[in-house]
Amino acid sequence: MTVIIATVRLQVIELVRLPAFLLPLAAFPTMLYVLLPANLARPSLLTLLGYLAFAILGTMMFQFGVGIATGRNDPWTIYTQTLPTRAVQRIVALVGAGIAFSALFCVPLVVAGSASGALRAATPGAIALIILALLLGAVVHGLFGLSLGFWLPARGAVGITNLVYFPLSYVGGLFGPVAPGPLTEIHPWTPTGGWMDLLHASASGEFAGRPMLVLAGYAAAFGAATLVGYLRVERTVYA
């Protein structure tokens, strides 16, 4: 446990002092939310939840997908992997750090949403469920980001991550309901789609069996990909 806490702490203090990392991820989702007139003119909890999910997804994709892929051959990273710790501990710590940053990056959105009145209709119970759903989605997409980080080549990481990030945001309905058509069929089975469906259900206090199962399936798949990717990095990149 000490190692996990120490790793989360180091990740947080390393990145929190890097404005170039912090500012875009903190500002981009909030800017989009505020600049699109409809969001403030017709404040909606569901719209705000989409943007919160978008902020978390961006954190996980870029902190892990790009960050790990580009830094995994760094002497410091190699050194830290020789310290006495297990793969699972490192993975848990990395996801933990991602959740910490996600929470931080959600703050300006929550402030903007409150100011616009988007949170007015939410009951304390619904807010608790929403937080749990956001957390669950953060873990699933944190593992997604990690698996990209351990599998993507360093040079192509930014491009490929963008290629995943924006389409997934759209098909998941993070910017609003998906337009009727083939994408609506795919939507519930994508990780972002399952997440948004869970968030919608949480907001209305309903039980969401299918989205839970979809997210659990992705958690298992991304978790396995992360673990195998981590071990692969040990065997190949550092070998």
Binding site: A6, I13, Y238
Partner: protein, 305 residues
């Protein structure tokens, strides 16, 4: 800390592409200070990397206390290491790096005490991005020491340190050795070897070619080279061999070269040789001494029985 641990490499092979960094590397070390000597690329850093788990050997066994090394496994708790090319996250502070490393060990030394020991107390709050080369080396040493481990691996620890820093470093290493730890030290600095080593291992082409004590190295380094132009010198060879029958005599580009442990006596006699002038006596460099040792050992190994 007294311990009966040993670390061992047994027939370890490690290649990077077609280049064999380790080729049947075999070494066993118990408590004390072990200096690994060898040219750049000889395999010292790779030997350390497979010991700490940073690299995986292609073949052979690397053992600490009889247990095989695995990255991040149980053996890692016994090893504190300062790799040669350790860099740090630039925004993290010196104290935070040491705290982080300390969190991985069961009974680490207090961070403040370690920073004091390596002379970094005044820089504890400085960001790693602002450290000089020497300060970064001190921080690497702090990382190696904070776990309070029975095995300490130091790869070129004095590189980039000023003279006072080198003196302090030697005191620290000497302290570790006398406390019964296994200290594995790679260095190009002959002074380090002479001042510290209980055992010297000469590494060449990915292999340990000689394990010996520092006295042997010193004796071999006691060999001097006498050099003079042959031009008008007559009958110098028998004179040299008569004074030192073990002298190695060679000629190159019109220059006579005599390697001898009795340089003063040989030179005195040679000065009486007709036509001999411009005689100089040279001490071999550490690199040459290592080459001599490596070659002598290889010749002995390759010689038909």
């Amino acid at each position: 800390m007294r311990n009966e641990l040993s670390v061992a490499w047994r027939d370890v092979r490690k290649s990077f592409g077609r280049r064999a960094a380790l080729d049947r590397f075999t070494l066993e070390a118990g408590p004390g200070i072990h200096c690994l000597l060898g040219d750049n690329g000889a395999g010292k850093s790779t030997a350390f990397a497979v010991l700490t788990g940073a690299r995986r050997p292609d073949a052979g066994d690397v053992l600490v206390g009889g247990e095989r090394v695995r990255r991040g496994g149980a053996t890692a708790r016994l090893i504190g290491s300062a790799p040669q090319s350790l860099s740090y996250p630039p925004t993290v502070r010196v104290r935070e790096v040491v705290d982080y490393v300390a969190a991985h060990y069961a009974a680490p030394a207090p961070t403040a005490a370690i920073l004091d020991r390596v002379g970094l107390t005044a820089l504890a709050r400085r960001s790693c991005g602002g450290l000089s080369g020497g300060e970064a080396r001190r921080l690497a040493l702090a990382c190696a020491l904070v776990g309070d481990t029975p095995v300490v691996v130091l790869d070129e620890p004095s590189a980039g340190l000023d003279r006072s820093g080198q003196g302090e470093l030697r005191e620290i290493i000497r302290g570790l050795g006398s406390a019964g730890r296994i200290v594995l030290l790679a260095s190009h600095d002959l002074a380090d070897v002479e001042a510290l080593a209980d055992r010297v291992w000469v590494v060449a082409a990915g292999r340990v070619v000689l394990g010996t004590d520092p006295d042997d190295i010193t004796r071999r380094l006691g060999t001097r080279r006498i050099r003079f132009p042959i031009a008008r010198a007559v009958g110098w060879k028998p004179v040299a061999v008569r004074v030192d029958p073990e002298a190695v005599v060679s000629e190159a580009a019109g220059t006579a070269i005599i390697s001898t442990t009795r340089a003063d006596a040989v030179a005195r006699e040679l000065l009486g040789v007709d036509g001999l002038a411009d005689l100089t006596i040279e001490r071999p460099t550490l690199g040459e001494a290592i080459d001599q040792l490596a070659l002598a050992t290889r010749d002995a190994t390759d010689a038909p029985a």
